[in-house]
């Protein structure tokens, strides 16, 4: 008898598991609507009437949390595991540079670096930061090339100083009108004395 299984991998598929499990009743479904994010679910957790043991901020395995008797622990399944229910302990194939910072600080660092590069034209920073910010500088120049009001407001939401945005939108036509992409250049240089970090100049091409 041939089985009609399609997945040859050893990882579990979220939708097939969820369909196999009996549905959660309405009380926990409404609590899902109330939780708006990881931080608020933490707050709700501490203020809820039922005393749960703190199980940590990492998302629990959905099967384990569903098998426990308390129904409001469905809040732990807030993370959408969008690679199909597969999560690995390693970083294989993930190309986002983390820059040793949590995501909010990382975003702030990249915003500050692109603001400074657009302001000064050439900055000296570590090689990892220089190669991480190329994408954002190119994105800003692309927004400026488009030139519409919506793109201008998007750029204003990213760059910290509005004079730089207006100057960029004004001069990008004559400067980068012919160039398609690759608006930066990275030049590696001597390591920094304090911690031997490899440094690089990044400049607007």
């Amino acid at each position: 008898m041939a089985c009609a299984s399609t997945s040859a991998s050893a990882t579990w598929n979220m939708s097939s598991l969820r369909s196999a499990i009996p549905p959660i009743h309405a009380r926990s479904a409404s609590s899902v609507h109330l939780s708006t994010g990881p931080s608020s679910s933490r707050l709700k957790f501490s203020s809820s009437k039922l005393l749960h043991s703190f199980v940590g901020l990492a998302p629990l395995h959905p099967l384990l949390s569903l098998s426990s008797p308390d129904s409001t622990s469905f809040e732990h399944c807030f993370t959408v595991i969008d690679n199909g229910g597969r999560f690995f302990a390693m970083r294989h194939g993930k190309r986002v540079p983390k820059l040793n910072r949590p995501p909010d600080q990382r975003r702030a660092l990249l915003r500050a670096l692109t603001t400074q590069l657009l302001k000064h034209g050439r900055i000296k920073t570590t090689r990892a930061r220089a190669s991480a910010m190329r994408k954002y500088v190119d994105k800003m120049v692309t927004l400026a090339k488009d030139g519409s009001l919506h793109k201008r407001r998007q750029a204003l939401g990213f760059i910290y100083e509005k004079e730089i945005v207006h100057a960029l939108f004004a001069e990008v036509e004559e400067r980068y009108g012919d160039r398609n992409g690759g608006y930066t250049r990275i030049i590696r240089t001597l390591p920094r004395r304090g911690d031997n970090a490899p440094m690089a100049y990044i400049e607007l091409v």
Partner: protein, 173 residues
């Protein structure tokens, strides 16, 4: 020879300041008798206040060379509308000697980078005859290529550049 030219083309000197050339003469620029200028390295503003010691190679002392020092990122690398700013011209330098044996056409001006990181480029030309180089009208809007054309200097024979920021610029980020 392309190994010597790579930092110059990566740093944008070949392309913005001069055209692609074949280096044929040694050029050693030293500030304060211990800081030698290497392509793309950074020097502090305190070091570059006085004029450097420029030693050139060449075959013999009959050939005359001209040294030009400019800043292609004036006043700011992101918006260099005064490109280039002239800092120093020395002419009639005899081969295998240093710049103190030449005639200073435009006196040395201390680089004062205000905004951003500036490149300061030394370009060496070989003259066809002595006393053939005339000083330009002003230091701003200098163009090394047109200066070489007007004075019959042709392509450069050597070039080197360094970077400089203002003294209290942010260096740790």
């Amino acid at each position: 020879m392309s190994r010597l030219m790579e930092p110059l083309s990566v740093g944008g000197v070949i392309g913005e300041v001069v055209d692609n050339f074949i280096p044929s003469v040694n050029l050693n620029v030293t500030y304060n008798s211990n800081r030698q200028v290497s392509n793309g390295h950074e020097l502090m503003p305190a070091v570059i206040t006085a004029k450097p010691r420029v030693e050139i190679g060449g075959e013999d002392m009959r050939a005359a060379y001209t040294l030009v020092m400019t800043d292609p990122d004036a006043p700011s690398p992101s918006d260099a509308y005064l490109r280039e700013h002239l800092h120093w011209i020395v002419t009639d330098i005899p081969g295998t000697t240093d710049a103190s044996f030449g005639r200073e056409l435009v006196s040395y001006e201390t680089p004062k980078p205000v905004i951003g990181i500036h490149r300061y480029v030394f370009v060496l030309f070989k003259q066809r005859a002595r006393h053939s180089v005339r000083p330009p009208a002003s230091r701003d809007y200098f163009n090394t290529r047109s200066f070489a054309e007007e004075n019959g200097l042709g392509l450069p024979v050597a070039a080197v550049y360094f970077n400089a920021q203002r003294e209290n610029a942010c260096r740790r980020r």
